[in-house]
Amino acid sequence: MTKLVQIEEGKFLGYRRPDGKVGVRNHVLILPTITCATQTAKQITELVHGTVSFIHQHGCAQVGIDYEQTFRTYVGMGKNPNVYGVVVLGLGCETHQAKSVAAEIAKSGKPVITVSIQDYGGTLTSIAEGAKAATKLVQEASAQMKEWCDFSELIIGTECGGSDACSGLSANPAVGAVSDMIVENGGTSILAETTELIGAEHLLANRAKNDKVSKRVYEVITAMENRSIHMGVDIRTGNPSPGNIEGGLSSLEEKSLGAANKAGKSPLNEIIDYAEEPNEKGLVWMDTPGHDIEQLTGMVAGGAQVVLFTSGRGTPTGSPIAPVIKISTNTGMFDRMSENMDLNAGTIIEGKETVEEVGKRIFDEIGLVSSGKLTKAEILKQHDFGIWRIGPTF
């Protein structure tokens, strides 16, 4: 295979941002702050090369902490260092005002332009104005030189979706080994999906940096578990999913004990809220649901430049702005869904490779992908986005 550049271990070629952070991509993001603007945003991306956007159903009639969580997610998507500049597209009358989102993103120093459909005179004018602004940003972005960066500047999101009984034996322990390597290199690794840590919380609490973090482990787990208890439902009607069960997972506890392997053996330094940027380096836990897309969106909005995603059943999931490296837990699925999967950890099950060997392969792939190699999800334009709603719409 042709290699564009020789990558030194623990280094990558990235894009330096005005706030000092480093992106592994150089996207221009068309960010609709309200569901009413998503189609217009999509039409701008169809006109202008180098732009990305996402479809969603949020941004209006949301209140309190639910309003704040959605607002934080929008801002985080814009501030993610994989984004060069942003066109924030609003309707005008919504609760999540485009100009407020734009003002927060602009604090990072990157270029931000606001377009409002009601103020600009409608859909066609907004498409034209948005496309003109985006064209300028794309040309600027394309002229930016990459520079050598260190893995200490990376925030890696870790995730498992469509788990099977092999997840806890192969791909998740391998991602755990990578997580430890990232931490040893001075970087940050995000563990998430609180739902899928129910039953494994004591193992993580024991590794907490201090009593405060340990106490917080039990608080976020109890809050998540209580949601199903207050609803009077068996959490298993949602998790483990029918596919998980077909794959051999019998209970949420069993799934959790496999999922927790993604966190490796490093101390747990911090627990952060959904879509919140980590304050600490090392291993951090973001409080998210187990829903794949909501978790992925939370981690990327929290600043993750690259995501490692393990799967036993197979999944196409990707992000509009962050490369998602898909790792299969078993060789059968890797062969069956090679169009979606990037790496295979099934070799561990077959006894052909050790957890550490697969971990090293994933670590090296992070260097290549961070330097520009495209993942399958990026090539297939898998621009998934979904915000964890924590309140009703009014």
């Binding site: 099977d164 009984a165 092999c166 806890g168 034996l169 129910i198 039953g199 494994a200 193992l203 578990e225 199903s228 208890i229 207050h230 609803m231 009077g232 439902v233 068996d234 959490i235 298993r236 069960i245 794959g247 051999g248 019998s250 209970s251 949420l252 506890e253 069993e254 004990l257 496999g258 036993g312 078993n330 059968g332 099950i349 006894g351």
Partner: protein, 103 residues
């Protein structure tokens, strides 16, 4: 049939279930390795699909089922050695809002 043909894994010696790393037909006699020193022969009672679990010792109704050395649920009924262990005879104990007020 040689027991070496079928690969299985037990995560911790205290576990009472093992995972089949390939499909195992009913009636197969297999060797399960607990540690370097300890292994046992088990007769698989029913077909076990790749990734699914079977009991490596008798599990009484209501007792804890362990994998990774940790509790993954409770037995809904007595489970014999070599029987399939899954949602039909293993019950998760966490997030059980359906059981509030009935326990």
């Amino acid at each position: 049939m040689s027991e070496n043909l079928f690969r299985t894994i037990i995560m911790r010696p205290i576990d009472n279930v093992a995972v089949a790393l390939q499909d195992i037909p009913a009636g197969t006699q297999i060797e399960v390795t607990f540690s370097k020193k300890e292994s046992t022969m088990i007769k698989i009672k029913e077909a076990i699909t790749f990734g699914h679990k079977f009991a490596v010792r008798r599990i009484m109704k209501g007792t804890e089922i362990k994998k990774y050395g940790e509790v993954i649920g409770k037995a809904l009924r007595d489970i014999g050695e070599g029987e399939h262990v899954h949602v039909h005879n293993l019950e998760g104990t966490r997030g059980r809002g359906d059981k509030v007020g009935t326990d």
